[in-house]
Amino acid sequence: MNGHHRQAMSRWHVGNRQVAQIISLAVVAVVMIPLVYLIIGAVSAGQDGIDYLLRARTLRIVGNSIGLTAAVTLCATAIAIPFAWLTSRSDLPGRRAWLVLGLAAMVIPSYLTAVTYAEAFGPKGILQSLLEPFGVDRLPGIKGFPGAALTLTVVTFPYIVLPVHAALLHCDRSLEEAGQSLGLNRWGVFRQIILPQMRPALSTGMLMTALYCLSDFGAVAVMHFNAFTRAIFIQAESFRMDKASVLALLLVGMTLVLLLMQSRLQLRGRHYRIGTGASRPQEILHLGKWKIPALIFCAVVVFIGVVIPLLVLFSWLAGHRITDPVQAPLTLLMRNTVGVSAASALAVSIAAFPLALLAARGSSRFNRWLVHLAYAGNVLPGIVIALALVMFASRNFLSFYQTLPLLIIGYAIRYLPFSIGATESAFAQIDPRFEEAARSLGLSAWAALLRITAPLARGGILAGLALVFLNVMKELPTTLILRPIGFRTFATRIWSAYDEAFLSSIALPGLVLILVSAFALAIILRREKAVD
């Protein structure tokens, strides 16, 4: 903590701090419920649990998850770096449009992308019908590892593009010029000057990708690839809670190791400007004869990531196979989905507020620990939280069992870190002296907080709100397991229609979900641009 923060802390009203600590403590207590119940569940399995843990099949699940995560992170990086570079530093025609189209892959939930790929690249799918004239009458299909890896690569590469693109725009041009004057060619400049500068952004993006892979349920379930989340779901769905808990704890452990590894890497090196003078806008590289290959590259990425899923969905919309006897009016799905997402986003924002205050202004060891613990959602995949909360409610808090509040608590635990992060950075940008001035003019500590600080942090709070909203809306496994009886959202509707092969029933909810998600993402991206 630097001097400025310590000073801020001393000025921060003691009463406020204690209230913030008490509320934070309550929030953290709720956040800890899943871990506690997982441990209880796993311990109650006893020797059976240990046997289950050590059998070859469980170890294969570990291998599957690690292999998938590694492959996807590498592939997504390999696509994201050139994509980010082309859309930030080259004279590629329509750079901005390509960037937006590429990022659009983010708004399609993984299970929806997977379902469309299973159809498009299936043994008798669209790809096969295109190859028919060349004598290909059946393809091997992409279920299993290839399908899961393809789907996850496509939905996660934007998570690397976003930070890397921003980093490339902010690289220090004078360093590159210095490199050139010392005799480096373009490739040398990229490797020795640009790459090191974007390493923090790259490692953030890669970490997000890896975390996404470990926690994603939709893609591996649709593609029948036996990664952790699918194995846990199969056990949890049948209420074999002790086995599910053993698997879930193992997954949490792996996620934790990944996070620790990354924070080690992050500590090394310094990547910011130290020279005097203003940093100047970036030089735009002329692609020349590379323009066509670059355009083809971007087109292929956008085609696979966005166009194919949309095409398949529209084709299902146009021509149905069999009529689905289940009636699920779109307005009801919309109301439930938007309602539960908005309620969760609000709940998360409120819970995150005191924690963000502590993170930005409290510097004691106790405060730091509270904030660290509140970030538990980062290592708890949705399926794991759902499993633990079912044990919690069905064993000890029956009045919560199969209720909406429990579902919202599940989402809140998962997405609290998003909101704390966004709100904290907004608080950090506010000079505590504003609050001080308001106090000296006679406002109470609370009034100053609510009337001065909160409005100033509004942008960050709103960005966190939108981010949580977007993620809850697309969320599948927690929703499937924790929803009240008869409660349907777009995600559960798509899932049950897929389960019974009512493909035409997937199309409309799928397309509407994509549209609403795109709207939420636009709010988030606009905010990021404003911060730039």
């Binding site: 074999r240 809670m241 609000l346 009886i485 092969a501």
Partner: protein, 337 residues
């Protein structure tokens, strides 16, 4: 700034439109259904319309739902359990969780083989396990129809068969094989199928779809799923094959229902079970879902062989209660990996 505020207002508005549904409403009959919503949803809606008894339904796989009820025990919110096969009902009966049904209810079912011996569950509709296949694909691959489910481990079927290993009807079929063939042979068959590259699907409908598309030559399903597709398009290339000679692959099973002992609405629960055995509901099963009705007063679907003409293996449905054993065998075989 005003824009941000209006977005915030929009969010709050969206939230206020969203009225929390009655949490755990006590006057609503809670049904746990191991059968797909597309099969029982319409008749449950009809029930509410005819009797004004509101229902809420949890849908899941039959084995999963049975496990859920076993775990919830006394606390289960479920009043009625609808299952895709007799085995899951038998498992709950064995745990002593089912309410005895009145004789008048049980007596509706013509064949006593299709109700529980101690009267705690009743069959609702009959179904046969079949091999659905695509005749064009069969010819293309130069294959002949299999005489037994056991033939599908043959090399010529490599990669060309579909199954739904988590589906309750399949689990019940495996249970029947364990009873008829013994542990070892059943486990060998499962391993042989997997080694033969069998294609796994989440449920029966996707198997029929894959068969029609030629993704697989055929698959192990219940007989009725095909008819949904035929109703939309009579020209599709898929048809049913009943394994001959009392083969374990030609098991006749029932979908059934039971009332939980822990129910707080025994009258409404019984009203639902009686309704599902009424002529209205039985005709629905025969005509809309193409299953065999179990009451004498309703005619079976016309396009199917009579239930009595199917060469089903000799087995007592109440012997199929070892759900957990079959599930574990399937899991150990690696079919879910």
């Amino acid at each position: 700034m005003p824009k941000q505020r209006s977005i915030l207002f929009a969010l709050v508005f969206a939230l206020s439109c969203f009225i929390l549904p009655p949490v755990m409403a006590d006057d609503v009959l809670t049904v746990y259904s191991g059968r797909n919503e597309s099969l029982v949803g319409p008749i449950l809606a009809q029930f509410t319309e005819d009797t004004s008894i509101e229902t809420q339904t949890l849908y899941g796989g039959t084995s999963a739902v049975a496990n859920q009820i076993l775990t919830e025990g006394e606390n289960s919110p479920a009043d009625v359990f609808i299952a895709q096969d007799g085995g899951a009902l038998g498992a709950l009966a064995a745990a002593g969780m089912l309410h005895k049904l009145p004789d008048a209810t049980i007596a509706r079912v013509a064949n006593p083989a299709f109700v529980s011996p101690d009267g705690v569950w009743t069959g609702l509709s009959g179904r046969a396990r079949v091999f659905v296949y695509n005749p064009e694909a069969l010819e293309e691959q130069g294959l002949e129809l299999p005489n037994s489910i056991l033939d599908l481990t043959g090399e010529e079927w490599s990669g060309l068969v579909g199954w739904a290993p988590t589906n309750a009807s399949f689990v019940a079929n495996v249970t029947a094989m364990r009873v008829l063939l013994g542990e070892e042979e059943t486990a060998d068959w499962l391993a042989g199928m997997i080694a033969n590259g069998v294609n796994a699907y989440p449920k029966n409908t996707p198997i029929v779809q894959a068969t029609i598309d030629g993704e697989v030559v055929g698959g192990l399903v219940n007989h009725y799923y095909l008819f949904r597709f035929l109703a939309e398009d009579p020209d599709i290339s898929a048809t049913l094959h009943f394994f001959p000679g009392g083969d374990p692959g030609a098991l006749i099973n029932v979908a059934g229902a039971a009332i939980l002992k822990s129910t707080d609405q025994p009258n409404e629960a019984l009203a639902l079970v009686d309704y599902l055995l009424s002529d209205t509901a039985q005709e629905y099963f025969a005509q809309s879902t193409y299953e065999y009705p179990l009451v004498a007063t309703v005619e079976p679907p016309v396009d199917l062989p009579a239930l009595a003409d199917i060469e089903t293996p000799e087995i007592d449905l109440s012997d199929l209660a070892d759900l957990q054993g079959a599930l574990e065998m399937i899991e150990e075989s690696g079919a879910l990996d």
